[in-house]
Amino acid sequence: MTHRKIVIPGESIAKGNDFLPGEETEKRGEEIFALRYGLAEETNKLVKVIPLSGVYNPRRGNVVIGKVELITFGGWVIDIGVAENAFLSLTEVPKFVNKDGLDEVMDIGDMVVLKIAAINKRGIDATIKGRGLGRIDEGMIVNVNPNKVPRIIGKEGSMINLIKDETKCNITVGQNGLIWIKGDKIEEELFAKKAILFVTEKSFATGLTDEIKKWFEQEKKNDK
């Protein structure tokens, strides 16, 4: 891993023409400046800033968790925690839906796991075609800072798989910071929630996965 440091907007990160400006950076003359508060990282001469804070920025292909806000003629309007609401069209539902019975599939207030299919000037289009997508019937929703989602998932899902194995829960992490936990017992769900909140608290530590492993051992000892 490369060296990382916190930068503030307008701070010079790199000097010289060898470097390329990446995400959230700008080149002015010979220098590269940060445009956002976050961690500056340099890989293969590409300089970028990883945001530490801020609202969720939706991207195509993201799996998110939202709440049904409104039912229209052609589908559902879903609040995914950003300024623009997501629209889930009837045609994006994998089964037959009666035009008069949209509320039987998903009613106002229901939580749903969806995938962002497209972002355009009119808004965000979502789909529930795919594995693991669709209405949430039971379980628990935890809300965390969306910038900590990559840490909760870990490298290639290492962290989330560890939590899943240790707590025997089914967990879906929405990129917008909403996490759905579904276990057999309430106790297991609460334990998973505790683990996730621990990860968000310690998100700056290096070797986090190992620390979580230790934390699980400790928690299990306390149980006995």
Partner: protein, 236 residues
Amino acid sequence: MTNKEFKRPDGRKIDEIRPMSAKVGVVPNADGSAIFKFGETIAIAAVYGPRKMHPQHSQNPEKGTLRCNYNMISFSVTDRIRPGPSRRSTEISKITEWALEPVVMLEKYANMVVDVHINILQANASTRCAGINAAAMALAHAGIPMKDMVSSVSIGKLDKQLVVDVNKYEEDWEEGEGATDIPISLTSNEEITHFQLDGKITKEELKKALKLAKKARKEIYEVQKKALKELPGVEK
């Protein structure tokens, strides 16, 4: 300057800022927040958004909107002030917006608004400067894309003497030519985003005042930078 033996009422040097302190993340429910102090002047800023602008007719489809709200808490001054918006607070809200607008990059946030709420907890002059400093930090903390930081300082002219960071006692100076108050906001490139003047001053003195502000800006910027970089468990 004009008078070498000039003594400020609180014993400060002419270019000495009151002890500053700053901290980010003080409002847990906000997307970004900061507190900034100039001695006894305390400003707290909270940023919400970007979120959808309501009502719809105020939306700007070209770029996002920055909306500032400056408010003095009723107990911030010795004589209780009537709570709620006033002529003065609306004016300072607008001034703060103009001071910050050149640096925030809201092109990507069409139809959205970023709300900045500034509350003055304790006032001892230079409140708008403390407010702008806190707001700039809160905006950065909220992850709003910005070209640069903004630091603000007030320069005063007491009779014929220029001083940095006026307090309430100095603001009410009555001897000689009286007091002139010049709040200035600068980016780290020393570009001016806000400049106000209340009183009488000559062109030469104004140039000197700007020079003093540029020097003070560096100190304020360091305080802002240090506060933003103070995060647990990360190497600096």
